[in-house]
Each structure stands twice: as structure tokens, then as C-alpha cells.
Symmetry: C2
Subunit: 216 residues, 2 copies
């Protein structure tokens, strides 16, 4: 398997293919065309073929891709053969909503704890996930083996919490705040920005660029 | 200005540049380098130059890009010279959290209504946004001139609500559910999928591909 650095855009498309391949696999479909993968994920069939050609000789011409085998390759490429241990920092409306996403565990991300500063919210359990006091963040992350944190707090404490998460040994942070965080070189960061998606919609509407159905 | 179709990945990067240019502009910075734009948005300087070269002769070699002028070009390209009228469908935890995002209005998306099926939640107002009964969706969308809908409901009613939104005249839907919606050819759709972002983190962690700071 080659180890070239795949661009962020490509990784995002691979995720989209994987999402659809999981559905097809659950439905018992043996084969899928690049055309169908493209339509389902908002790209072109040529792009699908180009993306997937990096990972071996899948998809004989005119035959399509074998669903389960391709799914398993993408699972391996994306580092999803293991279950990741995840915490949610902030158990307000957004954080609580995230604790309810059953889809995450199915896709390899097990939420094992939430952290919250408001004593009124601490001590509860949301869908089986304990809401712990943020003072115990370092100890609990260590004890529970948390690797990825979802930052769902107000903007003000975001930077400092990111530093604490990094110091506690977290290796990835998904940032829902509008604040730029900089937890240091050992920690991967991604920003979840709703306005970016809305701007994409705006572009599509204004240019009439799509016949709908683009995504994820 | 050219009118070539810009790919989804490019639009996403333009959004990232715009997000950062707005910050720089607020801070009074006159000029920014492709290197800095790249670092802030998780791409390469070469990619930044390639993306922006499509929109005219910005960025004289060695001088960097003029912040305000580039910001305004991106605002125009992305269709953000106007304010979009947005509704949130579903006023549960996630929907309520979205109603609290002050950043959206600043970035061109004014949330003017929320719709909810639970009578206990209807009639309230969350941060000034009225929570209306979903039965009145069609009438209210028409009356309030809603153009974009954010779908923040459980999976089960998502498809049918997307049809209703399309019939009511909405031209874009941001889908937070795990259900594939198909509102028809006149409606742009984007999927907001947290697992896609987590999979991106997973890839980055496993491959050690980044020194952090990638995004949005």
C-alpha cells in the first residue's frame, strides 16, 4: 500500500465513499459503479476512479467496484480498523446533542466521557455517557484512554482547554468553536464550521452549479 | 470574472480563506501571504496561489494578497453579498444549539425561524428566533422568505420534510441527519457529517500526516 500523503480534500471524499459503501454493504449490494459513487458523494466518476486507483487495481473496467472489499480498504486507509476513544468537552446543548449521535460508535468513534464546568450538569449520564467535572479532565482522559476530543464549549475557554487536552495526551481535536486553537505539533486539529457548509450551499445556489444531491 | 464551475473542494478552501481574511480584516491587517493562508487553512501555499489565480491578478509576487480586496472578491464569488434567510427545522438539542450561533448572521446567514413538532417547544423564542409549529412550515417559509433550511431532526422524518421544504420553495438544505434526502433538482443539498471530520482526524493521526492546525 503506498504511503503518499493524501490531500485533505481526497480524505474527505474517501470518507464520503466509505459512508455510502457501508450502506450498500448493509443492503447486501455486491458491486457499485464509479458513476453511482460519484452521484452519491457529489463528485465526478473520473474523480472517483482517480481517487481509488491509488489503492490497488479495484474496479475492472465495466464491472464496477466490489463493495465489501473496497469498504475494508477504505476502513484501513482511514485508520478505522480500531475503535477510537472520544470525549466531548462541554455538555451544553451542542455537546448533549453530540452524545446522542448513535452513528459515531458504528463508524469507529466511541464516546466514553463528557466534561462540563456547570455543576448542575455534572454527575448526570447522557445516553450512557458520564458527564464529569472539567477539573478532572487530565486524570479521566488518562484513565479512560481518551484519544480524540470534541470541543463543544463557548469560544472563550476554547484555547486554554485545547492546551489542557494536548497536555493530557489527546492526539486529535475536533473544534466546534469559532476560536482558533493551537494545541501544538503532536495534536491534529479539524474545524467543524457550519458557515463553511452554508457558504457552499450559497455558492451552489448562486451559480446553479449543481442539480442537488451533493455531499457529504 | 470567469464562471467556470469550481469544484466542491475548492469552494471549501475558498470558505476557509474567507474565514481567515475576515479575521485579518477585523484586526486591520492590510496584506497576507499565500504561506500564511495555507497554514491557517490546512493546505499548501501553491494550492492557495492556484485557487486564487482564477479570480484575477491578486498577490504580486513577494508582496502578498491585499486582505480587504481579496475578502470582497471571495464574498462575491461565494454569493455572500446578500444576507440569506435561513430556517432551522427541529428545535431539539442540536437545533437549539444552532439557534445560538451568533457567527452565522455575521457571515451572511440570518436565522429567521425554527420549526418544531413538539407542542411543548412551540411558541418559545430562542435568542430572538421564533419556534413555530411544523404544520405551518409551508406558509411561514413563504411569508418569511426563507431560502435555506437546516435540517436538524431525527432520521425518520428527514426525507419527507426535505420534500416539503422543496415544495415550499427552499433552494438549499443543510442536512444534519444520517438519512439521504432527495428534494429534487432545484434544491442544493449539503451533508453535515461529524463522522467525516472524525475520520479525517483518524487518518491524520494514523499517518502522522500533519503537524496540526489543519482546517476548516
Amino acid at each position: 500500500m503506498n504511503t503518499r500523503r493524501i490531500s485533505d480534500s481526497t480524505v474527505r471524499r474517501l470518507s464520503g465513499y466509505l459512508r455510502y459503501l457501508r450502506q450498500l454493504s448493509a443492503d447486501g449490494r455486491p458491486v457499485v459503479s464509479s458513476r453511482e459513487l460519484a452521484d452519491e458523494t457529489g463528485t465526478t466518476a473520473a474523480q472517483v476512479r482517480k481517487d481509488l486507483s491509488q489503492f490497488g487495481s479495484f474496479g475492472q473496467r465495466g464491472r464496477g467496484y466490489p463493495v465489501t472489499a473496497l469498504r475494508d480498504v477504505l476502513i484501513r486507509i482511514l485508520g478505522l480498523r480500531r475503535q477510537w476513544r472520544v470525549c466531548v468537552v462541554g455538555a451544553g446543548r451542542l455537546g448533549s446533542a453530540l452524545l446522542g449521535y448513535e452513528d459515531l460508535a458504528r463508524r469507529g468513534f466511541e464516546v466514553v466521557a463528557a466534561f462540563e464546568i456547570d455543576p448542575a450538569k455534572v454527575g448526570r449520564s447522557v445516553r450512557g455517557v458520564p458527564v464529569l467535572p472539567v477539573e478532572e479532565l487530565e486524570r479521566e482522559i488518562d484513565m479512560r484512554g481518551v484519544e480524540i476530543a470534541i470541543l463543544a464549549v463557548p469560544d472563550a475557554p476554547a484555547r486554554q482547554l485545547a492546551q489542557r487536552l494536548a497536555a493530557a495526551g489527546v492526539t486529535g481535536i475536533l473544534n466546534f468553536t469559532s476560536t482558533k486553537i493551537d494545541p501544538g505539533p503532536g495534536v491534529a486539529v479539524r474545524v467543524m464550521d457550519i458557515a463553511v457548509e452554508l457558504e457552499g450551499l450559497s455558492y451552489t445556489i448562486v451559480t446553479g452549479a449543481s442539480a442537488g444531491g451533493a455531499g457529504p
